[in-house]
């Protein structure tokens, strides 16, 4: 119990609960199950992206190109759908994952083979990918009328009462959780973040591990490209512009250490959810949307200040059982 009280995830969950309760006292309809599901659905894309970013940040890297990757992949599948409506949607989804993974692999190769700092690589590809959106689309939009009904409707369908979009988030979260906690690859992400030198001696290829983290974040960005476009039914150059920092913010609020090696799937999910709940609550309690940015900025700062204390205990013990 004592250990549970010290986990950051619990405090974050309580903070989210507190926001929900406070808003609900004033507006009882806010906490209705239907509305809560809507909030979850609204936040699904951010949750998935935060998980991808977490994998990268764990390895002491950073991926600034996620939002541009999302926009580029989204534009490609949207144009493909507009031009060839007969392509089945599952195939397009698979393609978006593959394209995103390819773009991520490009980042990964530059980090792995040329040893360029990730922040520089992804700063470059951030602008390159975003520019390519313009090049392939000629600056034109793909709008709802050009997309096939299936393309738009798929994620709006429901399964067991939850929208398909939410299911995407749940499946991705489970997959990443399994990857992080049950596979050697997941352990490698943590290991090279905690101590790259020691990892080399235990036989982990640091460069290749970073490469796979970028492939993962790229694949998730690609998937979210399709989901974003079909949700907001417009593909343009501006899609998710500036969103890369929101994704990192979700990770930071969720307790993922920017110095690498520390972070959990639950934390990243809750971090994203916290931003989602706050953003949904603001209009309800009558705060103008112009406050939104300042409030999330303040939330990030408060989260880091709280984080800083937690991180004094160094690293995350990977083999808990062995220690106990």
């Amino acid at each position: 119990m004592n250990r549970l009280l010290k986990t950051r995830e619990l405090w974050l969950a309580l903070a989210i609960l507190a926001v929900l309760v406070l808003v609900t006292i004033r507006f009882p309809r806010f906490a209705q199950p239907g509305n809560l599901l809507t909030i979850f659905n609204d936040t699904s894309i951010l949750m998935m992206l935060a998980l991808g970013q977490m994998a990268v940040i764990l390895t002491r890297s950073i991926d600034l190109s996620m939002a541009s990757n999302l926009a580029l992949t989204g534009m490609i599948v949207a144009m493909a759908n507009a031009a060839f409506p007969m392509i089945p949607i599952p195939l397009l989804i698979a393609a978006s994952v593959a394209i995103g993974a390819g773009l991520g692999a490009f980042n990964g190769v530059l980090v792995w083979k040329l040893d360029i700092p990730p922040i520089v690589v992804t700063l470059g590809t951030l602008t390159i990918y975003r520019g390519l959106v313009f090049v392939i689309s000629g600056g034109a939009w793909v709008n709802a009328a050009q997309m096939s009904p299936d393309f738009i409707q798929l994620q709006r369908g429901a399964f067991l009462g939850l929208p398909i979009l939410s299911w995407f988030a749940i499946v991705v979260a489970v997959l990443v959780y399994v990857l992080m906690t049950r596979t050697p690859q997941g352990r490698a992400f943590y290991a090279i973040g905690v101590n790259p030198t020691a990892s080399v001696y235990t036989g982990i290829n640091v460069g290749r591990t970073k490469f796979w983290a970028f492939v993962l974040s790229g694949a998730i960005s690609g998937l979210c490209g399709y989901l974003w476009i079909s949700r907001y039914v417009i593909a343009s150059v501006e899609v998710a512009s500036g969103y890369e920092l929101t994704i990192i913010a979700a990770c930071v609020i969720g307790g993922v250490s920017i110095a690498g090696g520390i972070g959990t799937v639950a934390g990243a999910l809750l971090g994203a959810l916290f931003l989602g709940v706050v953003n949904n609550a603001l209009p309800v309690i009558g705060v103008s949307p112009f406050w939104q940015m300042a409030i999330s900025g303040a939330a990030i700062l408060i989260a880091v200040v709280l984080n800083a204390r937690g991180e004094t205990r160094k690293g995350r013990v990977i083999l808990k059982r062995a220690e106990a």
């Binding site: 360029i116 520089v120 700063l123 602008t127 390159i128 090049v135 920017i258 112009f290 406050w291 303040a298």
Partner: protein
Amino acid sequence: MTDTTHTRHLPDRLDNPVRAAVMSWESLLVLVAVAIFVANSFASPYFLNAWSLSDLTFNFTEKAIIALAMALVIITGEIDLSVASIIALASTLMGLALQFGADTPMLVAVGVAVGIACGAFNGFLVTGLKLPSIVVTIGTMSLFRGIAYIILGDQSFKGYPASFSWFGQGYVWWVISFELVLFLVAAVIFYVLLHHTNFGRRVFAIGNNATAAQFSGVRVDRIKFVLFCLTGLMSGIAAVLLTARLGSTRPSIAQGFELEVITMVVLGGVSILGGAGSVIGVVLAALIMGLVTFGLGLLNVPGIVMSIFIGALLIVVIALPILFKMWKQRTA
């Protein structure tokens, strides 16, 4: 460039000082700049005249002014992502001061003061509370611009006095703009500060090994705090220039500047890991980015496509020496 240990070099034998100078990062940048300049003059007949070249400087001076200070911050191993938001907030508060009847000197004072205050806030969070600067400034980036949005909403402030516009549109001599002169003066000051003072040596020392610097008597936190104030100050100055040039304030002003400023700094040979870099490199990189965007502009290439060239330039220029080294090792 007497102090070769602090600048970045192409991989080669550096025991010969002449050879070291030729093989320096700055030489590579000069080469790139000349190549782009020549390409531009062939590509467009409108490029090679005084007014064109003068217009070109407006493309990069505001960002380059911030890049000078950002270079020092990055050399110490920190980063400031909030500079564009500082511009937005400073510009907004200048607009607010205007509504209360402030005149030109007062407007400039407000812009500069807001810049320094924002920088000091960042500096306090980084050094006082020992937080990582990348996270702090992601937070203040939202916070500062958020405050601008709270004040302005979807409105804009207009009606700046003519004497104020001079800062962004005026010429000191014939075609030499005030912005350019200010940038060059600032570049000289930063050059001396970084490469010829104890302060500059301490900046490098912190970047190479902050703990060792601390133990050898460098007040690491105080210097970092000063540097964040300095980026804040330069952002405040950039806010004055940009607001004066555009003649209006919107909360979305200078969106995305922070990444361009960092691109300039990194392209200029400053190591993102800290400890290495030169002011000359940053000035050259700023010039290169100005040349690229202006040249492509003359060819009617849309702004968003220019970003492909800037991004590719960043990666290629950084990758070149590494590939060169790998190729040499393979053939050796």
